[in-house]
């Protein structure tokens, strides 16, 4: 199965999945802000970022980032508890929010791209940290506002090198 994924497709899928998670699991308001593309990794960040990888004939990555206060609020909404500071439960909650959002985006694209796999989430919490996803050149950046707080979802998806090289190898046969 082959297909293409446009930036608009990514924005629509991420928005839908995020709205689903916020309305069913978090019961928090959500407003989508202006999406943009980015060709570089974010500068040194503070706060919490949860990353989930996608694998298969297409590969990519999704990451959800916010400051520590917002992470505590999201975890509190998910677990119906109060978290004054980032702790294990907050990090676990952020991992699960990322897992649900990126997992549903993945499922959405499987009808176009065929079966895709999902990695176990990784969560980073700290100050002035840098993250890097090897080989990623273009990110769709979709910011959201929830109340007074902001979250940012970055997503990229591209044909895997293996499937890309297979296409190149078969191109002469296809042309013939």
């Amino acid at each position: 199965m082959s297909g293409t994924v446009s930036p608009e497709d990514i924005v629509a899928a991420v928005t839908q999945a995020t709205e689903d998670v916020f309305s069913t699991m978090l019961n928090l308001p959500l407003e989508k802000l202006e999406p943009q593309t980015a060709t570089s990794e974010p500068p040194g960040s503070d706060g919490v970022v949860a990353l989930v990888g996608i694998g298969g004939s297409w590969t990519g990555s999704g990451r959800i980032g916010c400051n520590k206060q917002t992470a505590c609020k999201l975890a509190g909404a998910l677990l119906m508890s109060s978290y004054p500071e980032v702790d294990e439960e907050v990090l676990d909650a952020m991992a699960e929010v990322a897992n649900m959002i990126i997992g549903n985006v993945k499922t959405n694209f499987e009808s176009q791209l065929g079966p895709l796999g999902l990695s176990v989430p990784t969560v980073v919490f700290g100050r002035n940290y840098h993250t890097r996803s090897a080989g990623v050149q273009n990110w769709m950046v979709i910011p959201f506002r929830t109340g007074e707080d902001h979250i940012e979802i970055r997503f990229c998806l591209m044909p895997s090198q293996t499937s890309q090289s297979r296409i190149e190898r078969l191109r002469p046969q296809i042309a013939a």
């Binding site: 069913t24 699991m25 676990d92 499922t107 499987e110 999902l118 176990v120």
Partner: protein
Amino acid sequence: MALDVMIVDDSAAIRKILHRVLVQAEVPLGQVHEACDGKDALEKLKSAKVGLILSDINMPNMDGIELLNRLKADENFKSVPIVMVTTEGSQAKVLQALELGAAGYVRKPFTAEQIQEKLAGII
């Protein structure tokens, strides 16, 4: 009669949420056991007798499909209803789980009502 349940998910957050949903569902709840993956579940099921299992699919060490496969092949557990509660939404995985004998499937994100409705048809 109280129903003992096992919740299998690598996310402690989801285990906590499902536990809360079970309490809200007003099922006659007995002990609630938790496991972080299929391997952990099999180990704990050696000493825990349960009447219902809620399991994720994508987990490290042993995923929910393998856990389902093993439990349905085990005389002691093949009649225990297993409901898959998972982000995994691919048709192939869902069909595979149902063919292996899963009693139901609930996709994350879920509402408490969706879990309760699914359980009402099973227990």
